[in-house]
Every structure is written in C-alpha cells, then in structure tokens.
C-alpha cells in the first residue's frame, strides 16, 4: 500500500485535540455571544471535522481524486444551504408566505402593493 502509516502518538495527539475542542465548544456555549455562539460552535465543529478527515480518515495520504470527491460533496451541500437561506432572507411577503408573521422581527415589513391604475 502506498499510504504511509500514521503513528499511535499522532492519533493520541489528534484525540486530545478533539477532546479539547469539545471542551471549548461546551464551555463557550454558556457564554452569551449572541449570534456568535452558533458561529463559534460551527467553526469548532469544522475544525474537528478537518482533524478527523485528515488524520483518522487518512485523507492526508489519500489520492487527489478522493479529495476531489469529498470537496464536490461538501460544495454541493454548501450550495444547497446558501440558496435555501438566501431565498428565505430575500422573500417578498407580498408574493410568498401567507403566514407573514413567521418572518416578524427577521426583517422589516414591506408595504402592501398599491392598486394598479385602471387601463385606458
């Protein structure tokens, strides 16, 4: 096999790092950072994910095409997330969402459409 073995020592260091990051995310969750709480929790989760993928899943020594496949999957999900949330953020309550109240406080209300002037 072409892949080089990673030493037990490295695995233990990565495990310790994952435990430390878990402690960071649990402790920081109790501090009120507003929207920053979710952002920080996701940054920690992505860091843990990169450690697991790189060392435990050996992608550090993986082939280029294996990495490309993973990146393609992650990008597709990122696109799904981005378009879903972007759609939600920019919806016009005049055209969508009869349950307008659901977006109260998320963004300012939009004035109702004025009646169309009569045609000649």
């Amino acid at each position: 096999m072409s892949q080089r073995a990673i030493s037990i020592r490295t695995y233990l260091i990565i495990f310790a790092a994952l435990m430390a990051l878990t402690a960071v995310t649990v402790v920081s969750a109790h501090v009120d950072l507003g929207r920053g709480n979710v952002v920080l929790a996701l940054i920690v989760a992505f860091t843990k994910a990169v450690l697991v993928i790189t060392y435990f899943m050996h992608l550090r020594y993986g082939t280029l095409i294996s990495r490309g496949v993973l990146v393609a999957g992650v990008l597709a999900v990122a696109l799904l997330m981005f378009l879903t949330i972007d759609d939600l953020r920019t919806r016009d309550t005049r055209t969508y969402l009869p349950f307008v109240g659901a977006l109260d406080g998320v963004r300012p209300p939009i004035a109702p459409v004025p009646p169309h002037p009569p045609l000649e």
Binding site: S2, I6, Y11, M19, T22, V26, L88, R89
Partner: protein
C-alpha cells in the same frame, strides 16, 4: 468458495494491475459513497438551517429540553470509538490479529454505549411528552416551534443512530473475518473502509451535537 476468496485475499482481482490499484479503486468507491452520504445528511441539515432561521429564538429555547450532560458524554464516547477504530486499522496494517479484534470489539462496545445513552434519552422524551405527534404535551410558549425542533431532533439523531447500528453490524462481520485470517499486513482494505464509514458517522455527530444540544445554553 474458498478458492474465490483466496484469489482476493492473497493477491488482487484479475481486472486490476496490482494490489495498490485495487486498493485505490476501493478507496475511491468508498469516498464516492461517503460523498453521497454528505448529500443525504446535508439535506436534513439544510432543513434544520431553514427552520432555525425562521424560528431562531424558539429553537434556542427548545434546545434546553435536551440533556447537555448526556450529549457531552456521548460526544466523548463517540470520539473515543473513532480512536479505537484507528487503532484497529493500525493493528491490521501491521498484521496484529488479536489486537485488531480487541480494538474492533472495543469500538463496538463504545458504539453500543452511545446507543444505550441515546435510548435512555429517547425514553425520557416520551415521559416528558416531548415526542412529536399525539404524545406531545408541552404547552409552554412557542409550543408548535418546540414540536418542530423535537421532530428534527428525532429525525437527525434517529438517522445517525441507524448508521451506527449498521456500523456495529459491519464491525461484527470484520471480527469474524479477522478471526478467520482474511486480513494481513498487505491486505486490510475492508478494515480501512469500515474505518472511513465509522469516522463519517462520528463526523455527523460532531455537527449534530452543537446544533441540537448547545445553541440555547447562553
């Protein structure tokens, strides 16, 4: 039967140039499978993102229905099971049969502990009237949004638990194959691929844990 197996175990299948190419083909196939798993769970996470964006405050409050202690213990248990899994792969790489089976059993044990704690949490949700549907009895503020959060909780952790149950079954199969001497230092592809699957299940939990258990603690 034995001859067909022996051909694979002691060399490489005839359509491959060598054992290394065969290994890389298996690895690529596994990463393709995992990429579609990313899409599978990605859709569920996108649903979560959609509703948590609509009902941010209610979701943060509903998050406190879950036990942070049990969630944290399960996070530690699952990451520890990933460590025992890499040890099993490491032993397989170096031809240590007994140690390999030992680490596989340890991984199965930790996976079972995780599922046991999960079952205990689920039971509590039934008793507390937090299971969506006819059994949902929570009537505090934003009750419909709380029910939506619990619905996502059960779907996400349920799909994750299903993956773990399948993983434990595969690990049990590996133990039997290892005992029968299928793997050696030059051929341990099934162990490595199962490791990839097991770590992927760990990855899903690494994202589930903060999104479900931690968002409402401040």
């Amino acid at each position: 039967m034995h001859d067909a197996g022996a051909g694979v175990v002691h060399g490489h299948a005839h359509q491959f140039d060598d054992a290394e190419q065969q290994y890389e083909a298996s690895s690529l196939g596994m990463w393709l499978f995992l990429a579609q798993e990313v899409l599978f769970f990605g859709a569920v996470f996108a649903t979560y993102a959609y509703y948590s964006f609509l009902h941010t405050d209610a979701f943060e409050a509903a998050s406190n229905h879950l036990s942070l202690t049990l969630g944290t213990i399960n996070t530690v248990v699952l990451i520890a099971s990933s460590l025992t899994m890499v040890f099993a792969v490491h032993q397989a790489q170096h031809g240590g049969k007994r140690a390999q089976i030992g680490w596989l059993l340890a991984t199965m044990l930790l996976g079972t502990v995780f599922l046991g704690i999960k079952a205990y949490e689920y039971t509590h949700k039934f008793h507390e009237g937090l299971v969506p549907g006819a059994l949902f009895t929570y009537s505090g503020p934003d009750a419909p949004q709380h029910q939506l959060f619990m619905c996502l909780y059960f779907v996400m952790t349920g799909l994750h638990a299903l993956h773990m149950i399948i993983g434990i079954g595969i690990l049990a199969t590996l133990c039997v194959l290892a005992q029968r001497g299928w793997f050696r230092a030059g051929y341990y592809t099934p162990v490595e691929m199962t490791g990839l699957y097991w770590h992927f299940v760990d990855l899903v939990w690494i994202f589930l844990f903060p999104l479900l258990y931690l968002i409402g603690r401040h």
